[in-house]
Symmetry: D2
Subunit: 269 residues, 4 copies
């Protein structure tokens, strides 16, 4: 009985050409466009040939002190948007963070830094390290943040055996999306994020056409799975979208802790 059944199955299985031959397979071949060739880096995590290198351990030439910052509430976000719209020219100020042993280090009090260049949809690789400080807890332990377009924050924090609110731990889209798992290494060890970010699209009248989305990996482990952002990541209140340019700088937060970053690169999508 079982054997006969098997034989029937096998017949199906090994005769894939018996069915549907009336349809020419060439009809569904697409020969254009031909994808552009990109040479991968030698090591997993090292930049591919088309990457924009934002930090290779040697200096902060790709970064400047942010002049407009980010907003902690919707009121602030709106003011930031207005300032941006009003700004036509300004003197760029160099980033004042420290560079040491191939890493850049937040110098508390010098303020957030942002890329001189603006980006929209990107693939981002960034490595970070929480300095060890047993006296610190919760949001006070190695807090920083990666603000995509200076607006949408993936949290940087020591979340290894350091409880805090779940939508504020490492890998959270701050106050919007809890990471799928906690993939944090202990403070003192290097960690990395690999991020796919799609910028929001706004209509001419400023209304939202499509929200921003993020997919993120923490140390190679999926923590955000195509999450649709509700608007800017803010500290107080509920977010909603405020229209902004198609490209904006990537910003790294100074939250008072000497968090380190290294090996930062993006690919524009």
């Amino acid at each position: 009985m079982k054997k006969r059944f098997l034989i029937i199955i096998m017949a199906f299985c090994f005769s894939p050409l018996l069915f549907g031959q009336e349809i020419d397979p060439e009809l569904t071949e697409a020969w254009e466009p031909v994808p552009e060739k990109v040479t991968p880096g030698i090591f997993p995590g090292s930049p591919p040939s088309d990457a924009v290198i934002l930090f290779d351990g040697k200096g902060l030439s790709q970064w400047r002190k942010t002049l407009v910052g980010y907003g902690g509430s919707m009121a602030e976000v709106e003011k930031v948007a207005k300032i941006r719209a009003a700004m036509t020219e300004y003197e760029e100020q160099d980033a004042e963070w420290e560079v040491k042993d191939g890493a850049m280090i937040v110098v508390p009090g010098t303020g957030a830094i942002e890329t001189r260049r603006a980006f929209g949809d990107i693939q981002l690789h960034i490595e970070w390290l929480s300095p060890v400080d047993p006296g610190k807890t919760g949001q006070g332990y190695s807090n920083s943040g990666i603000f995509l377009m200076g607006t949408y924050e993936i949290q940087v924090l020591n979340s290894y055996e350091n409880p805090t609110y779940s939508n504020g731990q490492a890998g959270a889209m701050y106050k919007q999306s809890i990471p799928l798992v906690n993939a944090c290494r202990p403070p003192g060890e290097w960690q990395y994020y690999d991020i796919i970010f799609t910028a929001p699209r706004f209509a001419g009248d400023g209304s939202l056409i499509k929200p921003a989305t993020i997919t993120a990996f923490h140390n190679g482990i999926l923590i955000q799975n195509h999450f649709e952002l509700k608007g800017p990541c803010i500290y107080r209140g509920e977010p909603h979208y405020v229209p902004h340019p198609e490209k904006l700088p990537l910003l790294l937060q100074d939250h008072g802790d000497r968090v380190r970053f290294r090996n930062i690169w993006v690919r524009e999508l």
Copy 2:
């Protein structure tokens, strides 16, 4: 003039606490759920603590010869679905591919293999290598495929300086989605895919609630960005969804070439 403008900006920038203090930031803290802890692997690409190891170089215990295969046309896909529905028990047959030097190798003629275990939404890491054969071209050069749920194929092919139709090259969702870029290494070198796959959802009556999606990286470079599949990846004709179980085995194709695979693991999402 410029200076005064700067001062205004700086005022905004360094006074984040001036705005919106009426809203208590604790209102938007979510303390539950607490994400499960997962320990990352030592090396980028090595399995995290919660991974199901499908191949670690030592044997094919996680794999079997497929008994139902995949369909090359919608007619075949539907028959496969019927067989699956009819099957209540059968003897599993061991995979007959070769294991050598820490890799598993397609043995042409032995047929596709599939995991003994079934999966739905997954993160997948898989490494593959096209053997060098200068005489081969197009679809004939190192062809294999990774069929998510035995149905949705990401193409495996030598696409380094080997033109073929774009929706059939390495990293294509076969005949549905051209990869964003060509990140192929030359034949003979190891390559890797990191994949986030979300299974389609079907209603009780078999109608589609939500299509399957895929995000894929080839050698660390984004090649599929949350692509919504149109249905099974088929050789002939246009695809449409056919309902199937929530979990199905992962299948690797025998397309007649001695393609190698290694370091295969999944995380269930």
Copy 3:
């Protein structure tokens, strides 16, 4: 003038077959022995096919509590040698160190641990991490040690911006050989040693035939270049050789600090 000179040189350069043809090149071919095949690991630092895995993150089955320890002075070393010679059987006691997040951690007060298996000449890969503790200094900051044959110590210590005597810093052959450079990463980060150790050879009467030698890399950087050890690495006094068996366990020191180790393997040479 210059041109003519060049031509002469080029004539030498491109006529390698003009000279010495009287000697048959086959005379200097050696076809035996044929070296054994070893398959390398996938990642740099992951174990090759012929490695003895001493710790893969999952447990301490390869280790035991040491019963004889090591000596801090020549008097002690000699007593240890006598005890070893007298021991014919004893109950092995399990190592009491902690295993967490894929690492093993010194539990201060539980004592040194050693491999159940004994080794002579080896290639050793071992990764270690100094926990951060800003209050500590000098030899008090993350002190441990890797005792080859339970006798010849390569120092484990935080030597990143933590001065101590040079022949006692990380990578020193303790009190015998200063490392060539200081390749230490900051405390909190994983580091690795790759070591080639050749055991000393003793004559039947216990006299030294050949001293032990060590070549060591710290984070991939050469720090000991075929150093000839003067005898056991001791805390007090000048060392000299004391004869011992051809193979002895590898020992890891409990020096009171919660140093972590992981990914430990050896190849017997």
Copy 4:
């Protein structure tokens, strides 16, 4: 009985401070010199802070066509030495090898290339790849060589399932030292050597004071363990030392096969 024995042992074991207290441990502390700090690369195999980068994938600026080459017999070696001694100035000719996909490739017929800079004792990292060519065998399959000081050759060859004389296979010190094991990956895959080379020392009268030595790892596996070279690595006849300068260029051989190299760096010891 056994228990009492154990207690005695434990007494030895846990009382390291009972012995030899008469000797002050500070007497054997060496505080000078303080080893220079070197920052390791991010990835295993990536260059440390003090490395001379010889090839980073982007061009051949560090290389030139060799003007004197190497010798295939002692007669040739001696002529090469005479030419070197006679050369006071010459026009450097650019290396004519190909650069593609981050690798440099031997262009058969263009001749060996050598570094513009000269080196003595070094740590060398170099990656290489044998192109696949099933028609080739023995010494004819992906032959090249790395000539330390343009004189002492570690063999580059496909030695994966490709028999040849053992002292001429990959990792051999050509015709002098068989590699300890065969750690070769298949052709088409990248491989790497990590090498510690100590130059020979000659007296003022040209007599040998100390032979050259080499320790080498192939894909992380020890293959040469402080081997003392007998002289130049030659094709015909028995080698003996011919005096040469303290530093000489590193040379890569054109043996007619399109072998690839990448990620080449040295540290001067």
